[in-house]
Symmetry: C2
Subunit: 369 residues, 2 copies
């Protein structure tokens, strides 16, 4: 076995999920993630955790959803499984990123709705989502399999404590501010100029560990839960949402809600997201990517949103970690990230003060006011 598969498993189980002896761990394995599952099982055995393994196959889900009449019920047994779990480790990495592209949007929405409680129970655990590098993901990234593996392990196997220390400075900036403004102004595309309130919200230093309220491996972003959004945002990073290509999306916000939108490609996918529920028209997240080992877009949100010199906004559900204790933020069955490149002709202001220009933070070398 590639030593990096073992290191990936060790990072996931140890640094990310902080699994301890006796923990009940549910591991969800995508159809192409078998090798990582074996390494994770080995590590869970060493730690003395309790392991239950589920199969997260897009093709199985597609077959089920297409055949079903959309009158889904909550799977109470699966709910009980998650309610007993201390941790949930999602090992992504399928064999076809478009495997569910022909599942009807209404069906997806009905299924998501029936699984709300399950999702909440999973999110109450020390959950972590990661991916095993597969040929399918390499293809999606436009990369060779070998190069893609290097890319994934570069992003995953890093000194997370050092990155966490750096990201803590961005968290401080966000925690002490009341309003964020994002501006991009390039000749070749629509501009972004949007303001969001973050007053009373707490930023997460997302250092790929539940100890940091961070649930992705790799991570490397600082995010918070904005509200009262107003203005226009142009997302120039191509994405795949529910198996459909989306490109050059523009959202117009008033009073915290999307009031208009367009997209060069995939407008129907955006519309389906926005129509999910009331919360899908409001933002759940503003994130600033800081993992500079992620040096290219690979059409995978787990990586793309962490890329250095980018910002992303998510339509839908907010994370509790950003909110005062007991307060609930934006609620929705969806959480869909959209990304904008900040590497040129951009700035981020907090309370009127420029804290990042063209991707470089003010505490970094090369920052120009």
């Amino acid at each position: 076995m590639d030593d990096r598969v073992r290191e990936h498993a060790e990072t996931l189980v140890g640094w990310s999920a902080r699994i301890e002896p006796g923990d009940a761990v549910v591991v969800d394995v995508a159809a192409g993630a078998h090798r990582l599952a074996v390494a994770v099982a080995e590590r869970l055995g060493e730690v003395g955790a309790n392991m239950t393994v589920t199969y997260g196959s897009d093709e199985v889900t597609r077959a089920y959803l297409r055949a079903h009449d959309d009158d889904f019920e909550t799977a109470t047994g699966e709910l009980a499984l998650f309610e007993h779990a201390d941790a949930y480790l999602r090992l992504g990495g399928g064999r076809n990123t478009a495997a569910t592209a022909d599942v009807d949007a209404g069906t997806r929405q009905a299924y998501r709705g029936a699984r709300t409680e399950l999702r909440e129970a999973r999110m109450d655990t020390d959950w972590v989502s990661t991916v095993h590098p597969t040929r399918s993901l390499a293809q999606g990234a436009g990369m060779s399999y070998e190069a893609y593996r290097d890319f994934v392990y570069d992003a995953v196997l890093r000194d997370w404590e050092t990155l966490a220390a750096k990201m803590s400075r961005v968290k401080e900036l966000l925690d002490s501010g009341d309003e964020v403004r994002l501006v991009t102004q390039r000749n070749d595309q629509p501009s972004t100029d949007v303001t969001m309130s973050i007053d009373g919200r707490t930023a997460v230093n997302s250092a790929a560990s539940v100890a940091y309220d961070s649930h992705n491996l790799p991570s490397g972003e600082v995010f918070t839960a904005p509200y009262a959004t107003a203005g226009q945002v142009f997302f120039d990073v191509p994405m795949t949402i529910d198996g459909r290509r989306v490109r050059n999306v523009r959202l117009i916000f008033e009073d915290g809600e999307v009031v208009d939108f367009d997209a060069e490609t995939g407008a129907d996918a955006i519309e389906a997201v926005l129509d999910t529920d009331a919360g899908a028209r409001r933002l759940g997240e503003l994130g600033l990517g800081m993992n500079r080992r992620i040096d290219r877009f690979t059409d995978n949100i787990l990586f793309d949103e962490k890329m250095g010199d980018t910002a992303h906004l998510a339509l839908g559900r907010a994370y509790d970690a950003n909110l005062p204790d007991g307060e609930s933020g934006n609620e929705s069955a969806v959480h869909v990230d959209l990304i904008t490149d900040l590497s040129e002709a951009s700035r981020i202001e907090i309370d009127g003060e420029t804290v990042q220009r063209n991707g470089t933070f003010r505490f970094e070398e090369g920052f120009e006011l």
Copy 2:
């Protein structure tokens, strides 16, 4: 998709497990059974069942078991999953039948012990075990992949109602009898001469459906739960037990218990089984194979024990379906079948009367008293 994969799924969901709308179904998918899982998911969607999919990978289990210190705990979340389930569909078909061959017998035993409640909860559902034909199973059978698939689907896709009607005559014979005697006498191998009490026990007409208390697809056997076994049995059909080859096993019974044994190959595997617990030295099952579409041994108990003109005895756990209501039969963490070929120089007596000779029952053409 091979139409037979779909027919297999339809037989499993419809005839075997009798899944109804709203049923909570746990599907366990072996690493090589993906295509069958897709077909089963489609069928479950059509029926409107609730589906949870677990991953039954031998390689994942091996990695976990080898790394663990053997101090296993019951997985309470997984237990809850099974307790909520109406049905459990096990889709076997791995990629290496010897995948767990290097897992220590003591470790297996400890793990089995910690999963007793889970196993019982699963067996309280309408569970069905089947396999998807994989190259690994074809290899284990000494067959080409193409020929093996034909073999599997011939055994699985048959007119179960017609076979059930025929098997009901054997059930009648066993139900009305008090003692069974099995005799084989061939020059080239040790003989079998064993008697078992079946007084008060009810035979199962195992027609591959939970409606018949039958939980295997394919099935095609009539079985009961014997006791007070005395005599010698020689099992001439080669087997693989816990990943180890076993051949030509001889068991000596006194007062219902194995008091001596030997084996040409795999004596250590038999010894490990016998040492599991007190119940592992007693019989849990006497079965008579009646699926003549299974016309060869393929080193897979699911098929081998159903082969026409064979009988099998299982060390360990008895099935409740064979016992009077509320009475518990032999209890054990194991249920290990051993098979003897009855196609020549054999007879089965019930209460002193010959009911089968050389594999032919007395109600069949060609029977000679």
